[in-house]
Amino acid sequence: MKDRFSAEKHGLISTKREEEGFTLLEVVIALTLTGFLLLMLSPTVFNLQRLLFRENEAAIVNRIQRLIYRKLGEILGNAYLYPFYDGKVESFSGEQWGFSLPVVTKQGLARAELFINGEKLIARWERYHSDEENDEQEMVVLTNQLVTSAFSYLDGKTGVWRNAWHEDYYPRLVQFNAAIEQQDSKTRALIPIVIPLKVGQKDGKNL
């Protein structure tokens, strides 16, 4: 035994397979098995493209959702409460299609707007009392795939959601509801985004 193995190892004795190749039966069985495997995998292979497309669409919707959440949070998180009543700085005002309010930015006080324009959701900032001639307003299109969208505002005094806001105090919460039109023309609703407005809220133990 020992001699035979050492002889095979050194190529002195050839194996049966090397001499004769596969039999017809072996080839037929192999082809049949491969065919079965391909048959079983074919739906997956054919749906792979669709799967990737859907995955990509879902990822785009998630990214849009996160982007809107971030921008809404950034704007409302830095909301500014103008302490005077001389009308030089307008307070928060909102409609179903958008809202505007004073915010604190790195450059100082600015007016921020978030509004729906057709299928677009646009964020815009403009500095108050800017001395610089080249200081243009900043604008970002957050998405251009909106189909049905609206803002609403929670009145902290009454606990009622409103479609428009023109009070001299700030709403407690701002909500954004929207749906996105995907590339396959299907609409997908975004998770409602609700952001609190901390500034200007009056709180207390006995309230």
């Binding site: 050839s14 009308g87 006080l109 133990k205």
Partner: protein, 369 residues
């Protein structure tokens, strides 16, 4: 024979290797895509979690202030232990929470020019920049100035810009109402205008004269009574002017800086109040009477009880809460600066957030990259 066999085995190896390479490429594409999505979601979740931690720490600071049962506020009362802070954070992060008294700081928006001159006597450039900012005419690029201030420091960024100092000096503030007993006619008129009152130039001049000639004659904390003494052509809306002007003591002697105290007490000029800082830390004033005794016994300053009660209070009214979250490498991630005003609508345990600024720092960007 042996050579031929080896060649055949080699071709199978190449075939298998090629197949594995293809499979690897497909798998790595999927893995990369999944990894990218996972990273994006993880960063977003971390961002939301950090923001919530900053909110929670701010709420902790507010409740820490409001739940103090002592009749006075002192620096020692504003400290929150690291153990309490850490309960609001995951192990990957650290945070500092600083509570400060904003209402006891020098507020250029609400103090007369004479106070500015005195306060900034070592830094005349600051005074000049502040004057140019506050008295500049609206919609005019020239150097013409107005008689009444009409431009205010609204944000901390404004304060940095005007004083050309970053960060803004910690001894100054832009928050809180003006004190009736610290203003002059010009500041009063500016406050009336800020409350939304329209005044003619004649009315402005008369009001300034009236106020300056009858200044500090009546001591009451009722703003309506004080304004009625001024014979104004038209009275401002009380609910609005009371947000801007107070006649109640609001400056806490446990937090005031010597440079500001010098301006507020008679014969204060030239005194250094060098013992004040130590007293504030070690033996804070527990009442206004204790502070009155300090001024009288330690510095020989006599100030009427009415006036001292109208200027000072050992209960702070306007607080600043600064929350800074950083990672284990001490890189700043997020800072949240909140200003809280206590005691609106005559309720001691009520509060209102009057300013809020959240700022993502470079540490976040680096860790995101």
């Amino acid at each position: 024979m042996s050579k031929e066999s080896n060649q055949e085995q080699g071709s199978a190896l190449v075939f298998i290797f090629g197949f594995c390479l293809l499979l690897g490429a497909v798998l790595s594409f999927f893995a990369d895509s999944v990894n990218l999505k996972k990273n994006l979601r993880a960063k977003f979740e971390r961002e939301v979690s950090l923001k919530q931690s900053a909110e929670n720490l701010t709420e902790l600071a507010i409740s820490h202030i409001l739940n103090k049962t002592t009749a006075y506020d002192a620096p020692e009362h504003f400290r929150i232990t690291p153990n309490r802070i850490n309960t609001f954070l995951s192990a990957d992060y650290q945070a500092t929470v600083e509570i400060r008294d904003e209402g006891s700081r020098f507020n250029p928006n609400n103090l007369p020019i004479s106070y500015w001159q005195e306060y900034f006597h070592n830094s005349p450039q600051s005074y000049e920049r502040l004057y140019a900012w506050s008295f500049r005419q609206e919609n005019q690029a020239g150097n013409l100035s107005t008689t009444i201030r009409n431009n205010y420091l609204l944000t901390l960024e404004d304060l940095q810009e005007v004083l050309a100092e970053t960060p803004a000096p910690s001894s100054l503030t832009i928050f809180g109402p003006a004190n009736y007993y610290l203003i002059d006619g010009e500041v009063l008129v500016s406050l009336l205008l800020r409350s939304g009152l329209q005044m003619s130039s004649v009315a402005i001049e008369t009001t300034i004269e009236n106020f300056n000639s009858n200044r500090n004659q009546i001591f009451t904390e009722n703003i309506a009574t004080l304004l009625s003494q001024l014979h104004l052509p038209e009275l401002p809306k009380l609910d609005k002017i009371e947000q801007l002007l107070t006649a109640k003591g609001s400056i806490n002697p446990n937090f005031i800086e010597p440079a500001y105290l010098r301006l507020l007490v008679p014969e204060g000029k030239g005194r250094d109040f060098s013992d004040l800082s130590l007293l504030q830390k070690e033996q804070p004033f527990i009442s206004i009477t204790a502070f009155e005794d300090y001024l009288c016994n330690q510095h020989g300053i006599s100030i009427s009880r009415e006036k001292i009660a109208r200027l000072f209070s050992v209960k702070s009214k306007v607080f600043g809460i600064y929350v800074s979250i950083y990672n284990q490498d001490k890189q700043g991630l997020l800072e949240l600066n909140t200003i809280v005003q206590r005691g609106w609508a005559e309720q001691e345990d009520s509060w209102q957030i009057i300013y809020r600024r959240e700022n993502w720092l470079s540490g976040k960007k680096e860790s995101d990259d």
